[in-house]
Amino acid sequence: MIIDFKKLQNTQNIKCDICIVGAGAAGSILFDKLTDSKFNVVLLESGLVDVEDDYQELNKGEILLQGQNNKNKNEVIDYVNFRLRGLGGTTNHWGGGCSPFHEIDFLKRDWIKKSGWPIKLNDLNPYYKKANMYFELSTDVWDEKIWNDIGLQSNLLNLNEDKVKTLLRYRSGFLKKSISKAIRDWSAVNFKKYLLSSKSKNSENRIIYDATLTKLISENNKFIDYGVVKSLNGIEKKIFAKKFILCSGGYEVARILLNSGKNNGLANDNDLVGRYYLGHPNTTDFMKLICNTKEIASKLIWNFGWHKIGENQSMPHLGFKKKFQEEHYLLNTGIWFGGHEDKNHPIYIAKQLRRDLLNKNFKNINLSTKEFLSILKNIDEILLNIKRGYTNPRGVKNPVKEEVDIFYMAEQVPNKDSRIYLSKEKDMLGMNKIVLDWHLTEMDRENPLKIAKHLASTFGEANVGKIVLDDNLQEKINNFENFGDTGHPSGTTRMSDSKDDGVVNKNLKSHFVDNLYVCSSSVFPTSSYTSPTYSIGALAIRLAEHLIEI
């Protein structure tokens, strides 16, 4: 049952077994899994059914970079607009990127301080498989045989397989139309649909919107007595639950805990809540690959472009092998490629002509004799490309120029100074706003150049092309110029075996508060370079099954 908090009839407070806070991917999955269990579940969502600007105001805060008020801070992170309040949370506008974290992400790595998870990839693998249902991915998407089964090659460019590996990352959602239309329509799964279609047998299970959990009250800081819930128009109620699960994301989980409890916040006995904030340092501008020929560039862009794989779509990228990362002390890094269309190529000219003819834009058709002859001369290649477009799952091979853009995204080294803390300023609901101080270590800033060198060596060895760096690269990185964060806030209530190192244990239960759980990217001790949502989904299923079992 979906209820507006303002319209709750009685003046009584809310009571339930489990209170889930936040209706994004984690909250939606947990509600769906727990709704037909023995528990009476309430899901609180701060926003409305749809995303509204007034509610986005609640996200406002301050950003610092390396403790400084840097002029580039607003270009680095727009954390007001990329987090959404409303049913479905940020899945209302996410890119849909899905891939599991890698084996190396879970390991303790000597060259990365504070790395290592209390669980391993194998512990999470069964839950990734179960998460496929929610993310609308076919069951076999991670089977490496998929490359061969559908006639693809994972190493089309003969890159050194001791160094790099081509990896798949899917977009959440089954393809309902042709791949070109799907790419244009950007149709990733919005988790709101699971909440709107939720039909619980237990009428006490409720999804309540316009209900912001502003603080958790605990007399002894060891057990939550109740939570304070407010709506934007001033209604306030208490919520009593046997268990509280915070699913409100990397910023808000820390913010709620720091606004709660006594003195220094709740579950914060060791001053770790909000610390170890992890972003995903990324840039599109710091290097380019200049391919040796246009043909190589076209092949590369085709290889690393969108492909239809079964019922899903995927854009492969390049990652570095575990052993290679260990030998060269690298951060786990992903590389994506983007081409520039070669508008003088006969295939491009023919495609343009076809488009104009189909759209009856006869006025636009201004074909020179030279262009006409180039189409005739290359008619075999053009026809082959048309055939490929219809028959090959990888689709049309678009001709591109030699210059290829490189998109870099890496994990961040966990460090205590990278943190979220409370500002003195309050929002409309009386909650202290947050200050995000994004701190990078020297290793985070050196990694792009190291990666560039390894790419140069890999592409040089395979006779693909040369890596060209941007001018004053290191200075720009140090100054956060074209070097920013993405909307993947993680790490602020990290998972650990010991309460000295983290906020929650491997079952996502607080080390300090008996009835508090966290299910969000905030529990990641390290954050890989891939999008976090798929892993959050796997953790949510694992937590739901754990809660049902105990």
Partner: protein, 121 residues
């Protein structure tokens, strides 16, 4: 008279032989140079605008440059393809072994620096 004629004949033969040897040697050198020239036209190298940079590269990469020239001279290529294949392999080996430096913001291999010196010095 006969002796003079014979000497003249031998001289002519010798001269013709030398011309012939010279011609074939010249042909071989120009052919090899054209292999290199053609290769330099094909390969994608940075274009240093500053002459001092080339001098600096020459000093920095002197030993590799000399070795490259000697390897090149000692190799006998029968076709441009054979030459290109040899050079591409050499360049690929450099990249594989991380023998690379940054020139004008571009990562370049040791052998390619030698090619840059040949092209621009």
């Amino acid at each position: 008279m006969k002796i003079i004629k014979r000497r003249k004949f031998i001289k002519n033969i010798l001269y013709s032989f030398l011309v012939l040897v010279g011609f074939f040697n010249f042909k071989r050198i120009t052919k090899e140079n054209s292999y290199l020239e053609n290769f330099l036209k094909k390969i994608n190298l940075p274009n240093p605008k500053n002459k001092n940079l080339i001098k600096a590269l020459y000093n920095f990469n002197y030993e590799n440059y000399i070795k490259f020239i000697s390897d090149y001279k000692n190799s006998k290529f029968k076709s441009p393809d054979e030459f290109s294949s040899w050079l591409y392999k050499k360049i690929a080996e450099d990249y594989k072994k991380n023998k690379i430096i940054i020139v004008e913001n571009t990562f370049v291999s040791e052998t390619e620096i030698s090619l840059l010196i040949i092209k621009y010095i």
